[in-house]
Every structure is written in structure tokens, then in C-alpha cells.
């Protein structure tokens, strides 16, 4: 009997999606934060931003907030492995005749899909609030959304594989997720920021995601869209590699 690896990946992907669509409260709940940011910051700082000659703040901010909602959802999806371990489902998966890489890859794809969907929802909401992107450029923006989702789901999986329980989770929120978000140039333009912040951003994967989205959506960016995309593809490959290596060491 041979196990169909592709089908197993599909099954693991499907599980993440089913769980996502089943938890309506989670979908709605995680839209609250982006809405708050868009409304409070978008409208609140719009005049200051415009006065300093930077243009419309909502246009600038929306890609950053879309990236933020993908970042949070993706990290959560990866971290869910801890839940699976604690609730026992991980054992069921680990005794299945499927390679550890297949397991890690299937659920990372599932988590990344969920995070991309969440990003798409945020994009729609941003449009309602006042964001006006060029419509035909939404498609390349979705490519960047998927890349951000892949990078951070893989990172979440990698981190979760090394954690015993949820105790370390607060630590990750405060020392990984929040800094990644605030130091990515999501909220402010990096070209006018102090050099230190610019340097930090260069090492921040989210920066390339936000920058890429801005490149295609509002035509203003630090690097070209191609550079951003290339960097993100490389980072996601590295994180997937590290993630599956750490996951292969996981014990139920």
C-alpha cells in the first residue's frame, strides 16, 4: 500500500480551512484590530501625514494593516500545533504513515491559505473605509499576501515546534510578533525615519511584504516589487526548511 503524499497534503490543508470557516467568531474577532487601526490611525493621522507632504495616509497605511492581519493570523496558525499537541490530535497525525515534512508542509499551506484569506478580508474592509488601490493591481498584491502568509506560518510552526506549552506564547507575542510589526514600516515611511530603523527593517521579512504590496498597490516603495518578491521567496524557503527540521524533532 502506498500513501499518496499529495492527497495527504490536501487533507492537512483542508483541515486548517475547515477549522477556520467553522470559527466565525475568530474570523470576525481578528478583523477588529485592523479596523481599529485603519479608522483610528488612518483618519487620526491623515492630516498630519498630508501636512508633511507625504500624501494620503490611508493609502499608505492600508497595505501595512493588511500585512499586519496576515502576520497575526499566520503566526497563530503555526502556533496551533501546540494546541494540537495538548489536545492530543498531534499524536494521531504523528503515527500516520506520512513523512514529517509532508505533515509540516500540509498544515503550513493550510495556515497560509487561512492567513491570506484574512488579508483579503482586510483589503475589502480597507476599501470600504477609504482605501483606493488600482483594481487590476490587486492580483499581484495577492501574491505578496500569500508570500507573507507562507513566511510567517512557517515561522509560527518553527517556533511552536520548540515550545512545550502555551506559556511561552506571550513571550513570542511581545518579542517577535509585535517588533516585527512595528519595525516593518507598516505605520510610517522608512525613508524619512532614522537610519537605525531603516537598518532594522532590512532584516525584517514583513518589511519586504509591506514594501512589495505598496509597490504594486500605490506605486511607492523602497525596493522594486521584484526584489521584494525574490527576498520573500527565499525567506519562505529558509523558514519552511527550518520549520520542517524542528517539526521532525517534535514528540507527541
Amino acid at each position: 500500500m502506498k500513501t499518496n503524499t499529495l492527497y495527504a497534503i490536501y487533507i492537512l490543508w483542508l483541515r486548517q480551512l475547515k477549522r477556520y470557516f467553522r470559527s466565525k467568531s475568530r474570523i470576525l474577532g481578528s478583523l477588529g484590530q485592523p479596523i481599529l487601526f485603519l479608522v483610528a490611525l488612518g483618519f487620526g493621522l491623515n492630516s498630519v501625514f498630508a501636512a508633511s507632504g507625504q500624501g494620503n495616509y490611508i493609502q499608505f497605511l492600508a497595505p501595512g494593516i493588511i500585512a499586519m492581519s496576515i502576520l497575526f493570523t499566520a503566526i497563530f496558525s503555526g502556533i496551533e500545533i501546540i494546541w494540537d499537541r495538548q489536545f492530543g490530535f498531534l499524536k494521531e497525525v504523528l503515527v500516520a504513515p506520512v513523512s514529517r515534512f509532508t505533515i509540516m508542509f500540509g498544515r503550513t499551506l493550510g495556515g497560509a491559505t487561512v492567513a491570506s484569506l484574512q488579508g483579503l478580508l482586510t483589503l475589502i474592509i480597507a476599501t470600504v473605509i477609504g482605501f483606493r488601490p488600482d483594481l487590476w493591481l490587486v492580483l499581484p498584491a495577492i501574491v505578496f499576501m500569500i508570500l507573507i502568509a507562507l513566511v510567517f506560518t512557517a515561522l509560527g510552526t518553527a517556533i511552536a515546534s520548540t515550545l512545550e506549552d502555551m506559556q511561552g506564547f506571550q513571550l513570542i507575542m511581545n518579542f517577535v510578533v509585535m517588533p516585527v510589526f512595528f519595525l516593518s514600516g507598516s505605520l510610517f515611511p522608512l525613508n524619512t525615519a532614522p537610519a537605525v530603523l531603516q537598518w532594522i527593517a532590512i532584516f525584517n521579512p514583513l518589511f519586504y511584504g509591506v514594501d512589495g504590496m505598496r509597490a504594486v498597490l500605490i506605486g511607492a516603495s523602497h525596493f522594486s516589487a521584484w526584489t521584494d518578491a525574490t527576498v520573500l521567496v527565499c525567506i519562505s524557503a529558509v523558514f519552511l526548511g527550518i520549520g520542517s527540521w524542528l517539526f521532525s524533532k517534535i514528540r507527541a
Binding site: T3, N4, Y10, K18, R22, R26, K91, V95, V98, S99
Partner: protein, 269 residues
């Protein structure tokens, strides 16, 4: 492939945790194909650790294992295909329906897609859960979850079924019910069954062969009747107490309950 009369064969198996603690200490036993084997012992004796080594979840420190002719350390894939397992702790996805839990298992085990639906129906009817197939597992009672886990463990038609305390915490009716299934499976399909339990009458009634483990060592291994006789005891429970002593072994508290509360507070489950 050489004809192997033993479905499970274990020789000088040991597991040492943290370089010092011997959870399983040089045990050997054989389980003939098509038989029911009871693995008994107080809490912390090393039963679950043994099952984890047999089922590829834990790497043995030393010794050898053969399951259905294969070595779990060398051919984990082959071994994984050949056994089904009901873990001591729950292992279902609560957020999925009974049917979905079955369907995902079939997908992971490469059950031919044309056969999946019929097999799931067959097994869910067998454990009398077919009418609840579209209910979320989190709405199930403990007994229903156990029955679903048994059905799931059988979905890929394994040669060996491992049951780690399958009836702990269930009422006598449900326990009786579950044992009726297991015996039927053993008789009708020739399934080899390896189980642990704290209910001695289950072992006395159902097992052809019993091994008693304590502090990681097997201290008795024979038919239930012979064990009772050589301990000059009235029944297996009596013999078990005589062999393992009266001292109470503490069950370790799991962190699962705490987590469930936390998860619920987060609105994630």
C-alpha cells in the same frame, strides 16, 4: 517474507529517560497473531512508554521490536501502516465532525478513495455512531469519543490494534459495549489486540495472555488462569495486588485541563 507466528515480538526492550530513569527495563514478550494480549500494571509502570515504542512515537534506548514482521525503528512507515491505535489520552479533533475525523484519517493513511465512504459508514455503524456522523466531536460523551477512536483506528484495516486504557472512566454499560466490539473484531477479522487496563476483570475475561509490568520490569507473563494459580489468588485482581503490592501510585496531573480552560477563555475552541 518469513512466516511470522508472532504479530508482536519484543526482546530486551528498554527506555531510559533523561539518561537515568528507566521507564521500561529490559522487557521481552511475544504476542501471537490473532490473539488478545493484556498488558497490566500500576500507574507509571511503563505501559504507555512501551506502547509508544511499539508504535514509533518513542525511540527505544535498547532492545528490538518486530510488529507484523517489521521493525518500527528501521521501517516506521511500514509499521505505521500496519497498526491502529487508541491512545490513553484523547486524540480526536473536537472541532471536526465524527465523519470528518474518519475522513481525514483515511486520507492520511492512503485508504483507496473509492472505498473510503463505504468503509467509514461500515465502521460508524459498527460502533453505532452513524446517526451522529455530522455532529462535532466536542458534543460527544466520553464513551462516544472512545468508540469513534476505535472505529478510526480500524479504518485502514490494520493487522494489530493497540488500546491504551480504552475503557478508563467509562460506565460499565459502555465498557461492556466496547469489549463486545473488540472481541467480535478479534474473532471475525483475526485482529491482534494489545491492550492495557486497570479493570482486571476485563483482562481476565478477554485476554488469552497477560503480562504484568511494574517499575519497568515484567514480573509475570502467562495465561490469566496460570497467573491466578501461581499467585494462589482468588482472581486476577487479587493476584495483581499480591504481585505489585498495596502501595498507591500517583497519577500525574496533566496540563490539558488547564489548557482547555485557557483555550476556551481565548474563544479558540
Amino acid at each position: 517474507m518469513p512466516e511470522n507466528k508472532s504479530s508482536i515480538s519484543v526482546k530486551n526492550l528498554s527506555k531510559t529517560y533523561d539518561h537515568t530513569f528507566k521507564a521500561v527495563d529490559d522487557i521481552s514478550f511475544e504476542v501471537p497473531a490473532g490473539s488478545i494480549f493484556a498488558f497490566l500494571g500500576p500507574n507509571g509502570a511503563g505501559k504507555t512508554t512501551t506502547i509508544k515504542m511499539l508504535t514509533t512515537l518513542v525511540h527505544p534506548t535498547s532492545g528490538s521490536i518486530t510488529i507484523d514482521g517489521m521493525d518500527p525503528t528501521r521501517d516506521p512507515h511500514g509499521v505505521r501502516q500496519s497498526f491502529g491505535i487508541v491512545f490513553q489520552d484523547p486524540s480526536l479533533d473536537d472541532e471536526l465532525t465524527a465523519y470528518e475525523n474518519m475522513f481525514f484519517h483515511a486520507g492520511l493513511y492512503g485508504v483507496p478513495r473509492g472505498e473510503t465512504a463505504a468503509k467509514i459508514k461500515d465502521l460508524l455503524e459498527f460502533v453505532e455512531l452513524w446517526d451522529r456522523k455530522d455532529n462535532l466531536v466536542k458534543t460527544f460523551s466520553g464513551g462516544m469519543k472512545r468508540r469513534l477512536e476505535i472505529a478510526r483506528g480500524l479504518l485502514h484495516t490494520p493487522a494489530v490494534l493497540f488500546l491504551d486504557e480504552p475503557t478508563t472512566g467509562l460506565d460499565p454499560q459502555t465498557r461492556n459495549y466496547i469489549w463486545t466490539y473488540i472481541k467480535k473484531l478479534n474473532e471475525e477479522r483475526g485482529l491482534t489486540v494489545f491492550f492495557t487496563t486497570h479493570y482486571m476483570e476485563e483482562a481476565e475475561r478477554s485476554a488469552k495472555h497477560v503480562a504484568i509490568i511494574d517499575h519497568g520490569k515484567i514480573i509475570a507473563s502467562d495465561t490469566p488462569a496460570n497467573i491466578i494459580k501461581s499467585a494462589s489468588a482468588a482472581n486476577l485482581e487479587d493476584a495483581f495486588i499480591k504481585l505489585t503490592g498495596r502501595k498507591i501510585r500517583e497519577e500525574e496531573a496533566g496540563s490539558v485541563d488547564h489548557l482547555r480552560t485557557m483555550a476556551r477563555a481565548w474563544g479558540r475552541r
